[in-house]
Amino acid sequence: MPTKLSRRDFIRLCAGSAAAISMTGFLGPYLSEAVAAGAPPVIWIQGASCTGCSISLLNTVHPDIKKVLTEVISLRYHPNIMAAAGDLALQEMYKVAEENAGNFFLVVEGAVPTGANGAYCTVGEENGHHITFEKLVTDIGKKSAAILSFGTCSAFGGIPATPPNPTECKPVSKVVKDVPVINVPGCPPHPDWMVGTIAHVLLYGIPELDTFGRPTMFFDKIIHDNCQRRQYFDNGIFAKNFGEMGCMLELGCKGPIAHCDATTRLFNGGVNWCVKCGSVCIGCTEPQFPGWPMYERMAEMPVGPATSVTVDQVGGVLGAAAVLGIGGHLAGNVATGRIGPKKNEEEKEGDN
C-alpha cells in the first residue's frame, strides 16, 4: 500500500539514494541538519597505528575536511587535530563519554596491544599512573553506542598484529565485547568510507554489514570483477614486470580476493587508485592482510619455521619421487618377468 511521503521522509530517501550511489557530497546538507538537531558526538582515539587513516580522512574532498569537522561531525576528541592537549583533553573526553553514555560513537584507529598488560601503548596519565590504550578502549568503548573501527589495524589487527606479534595486538572487536563494532578496513580506508559510515550511523543507524563486519555499501564488490585491467585477464594478457600492460595477477595482485569499491570510487578525490597507477592490489581490506607476500602470486608453503619453500617446489619433488618410484617399479616388473616378453611366454605356457 503506497503511503504519503512527508517532506522529511522524501529528503531522507534522497539522502539515502545519494549514499547508495556513492555521492557523499550530497550528504553534507543533511548531515549538517542532523548535527544542528543535536547529533551524537564522536570520539576518535588512536592506538597501534601509523595515523594514516587520519591523514586519509583529512584528504576528504566531498565534503571537504573543514565542512566535515565544523558541520558534519560533532568530533569531541581527535589526537591530531584538536587544539587541547594533555590532561585537559583527556578529562574532556571522559566527560563527553560520561555525559553521553550509550549515545556517542567511538572511532578507533589502530590495533589494541594487549601484551604486558597493554604497556606497549600508553595514551595518558591518571593520578600518576599510565592509562593504557587497552584500558581506554575498554572504558570508553563500553559506554559508546557503537564502535567504528577505522583502518585494518583496528578492524582485523593489520600490520601490528602480524606474526610474530610481540605486543599481542588485537582488533577492537576482540577486546570490547557486547558493543556493536563496525569495521571499515583499508590501509588507509578511503575518506568516503569513513565519512560515509559516520554519516550512516548518525542519520540511519548501523549500516548493513557483511560476515567480517564491513558495511556492504562500500565493501560488497571484488576488486578483480571491476578492475580496469580485467579485460587483460579475460584475454590472457599478463604483465611480467611492473609498468607493462596486462593483468598483474602474476605480479601478485590480490584483486580476486579483495573487497572494496576503490575501482569505481577512486582515491585522491576521484583521481586514481592502486591498480590504475601501476601497483598491484595488496588486498588491504581483507582480514588476513598483510599476512601474505605482496608481490607473489601464491604464498610459500608452511612446511616449517623459517623456511621458504614454494608449493611448486614441494610438488616438483613429490612428482620426481613419483616418477622415480614408477620407473623403478616398472624396471622391477620387467626384471622379475611380471610384465614384458617373459610374462607373455608364461601366459602362452599357461594357455597351452
Partner: protein, 214 residues
C-alpha cells in the same frame, strides 16, 4: 578362441569413472592454466579455461554424488571404502608383492587395500576441492567459510595442493592398472575381465577373512 569373461564393472561404475576422469583431467589442465598462464600456455585466453573449469566443476559434483549414491544403493561401498580395521592388516602382503618380495598376493576382494585407500581418499579430496573451489568461485556467498579456513589465499593453497595430490595419485593409478595387465584397463571400457585373470591366490588364511568381505 573366445575367452571366458566375467563381469567386473557395471555400466554405472564405468559411466562414473569416465565422466569423473574427463572432469578431473580438464579441471587439472584448465586449473593449471588459471594458476600459471605464462608458464602453461595451453589456452589463448582466460575465458575458455575458466568456463570449462566451472562447467567441469559441476560435472565433478554430479559425478561424485552419483558415484556415492551408487556405492550405497548397489552395495558397492564395501568394495571401495577403506576400512581401518579390516584392510590395514592386509597391507604387508600387498607391499611385499609390490616390492617384489613375494611372487603373488592373497585375494583381497575386488580391490586391494592400497586401491581402497586411494579411492576413499579421492572422495575426500574431491570434497575438499569442491568446497574450496566454490569458495573461490563465489567468494561473496561463502565469505564466512573462506574466513574460517584462513582466508582466500589459504583456500587457494589448499585447492592447489590437493590438485597436486590428484595428479600424483592419478599417475600411480594409471601406472599400476596398466602394469597389472591390459585386461584391467580393458575392463573399464567393456565391464568384463577374463575369468582366468589372476586376482590373487586364495589361501586358507584369506578364506577365514574372506567370509567378511565376500
Amino acid at each position: 578362441m573366445v575367452k571366458q569373461m566375467e563381469d567386473r564393472h557395471s555400466v554405472w561404475i564405468r559411466f562414473c569413472h569416465w565422466t569423473n576422469m574427463i572432469a578431473i583431467t580438464l579441471l587439472i589442465l584448465t586449473g593449471y592454466y588459471i594458476h600459471a598462464p605464462h608458464a602453461f600456455r595451453l589456452f589463448s585466453n582466460m575465458d575458455t579455461p575458466r568456463t570449462l573449469h566451472f562447467a567441469m566443476a559441476y560435472v565433478l559434483c554430479f559425478g561424485v554424488v552419483l558415484r556415492v549414491y551408487y556405492a550405497i544403493a548397489a552395495k558397492d561401498a564395501k568394495n571401495i571404502v577403506f576400512s581401518l580395521k579390516e584392510d590395514t592388516p592386509k597391507f604387508p602382503s600387498m607391499i611385499k608383492y609390490y616390492l617384489f618380495m613375494a611372487d603373488s598376493h592373497p585375494y583381497y576382494g575386488k580391490y586391494n587395500p592400497g586401491q581402497k585407500m586411494m579411492y576413499t581418499g579421492w572422495l575426500f579430496m574431491a570434497l575438499i576441492q569442491i568446497i574450496t573451489g566454490f569458495i573461490l568461485y563465489k567468494p561473496d556467498m561463502f565469505m564466512a567459510l573462506g574466513g574460517f579456513l584462513g582466508g582466500y589465499l589459504a583456500v587457494r593453497l589448499i585447492h592447489y595442493i590437493v590438485t597436486w595430490l590428484f595428479v600424483l595419485s592419478v599417475l600411480a593409478h594409471v601406472y599400476l592398472d596398466i602394469s597389472e595387465g591390459i585386461p584391467v584397463l580393458k575392463s573399464m571400457f567393456t565391464g568384463k575381465i577374463p575369468a582366468d585373470f589372476d586376482h590373487g591366490t586364495h589361501e586358507e588364511e584369506v578364506k577365514a577373512d574372506g567370509g567378511v568381505s565376500a
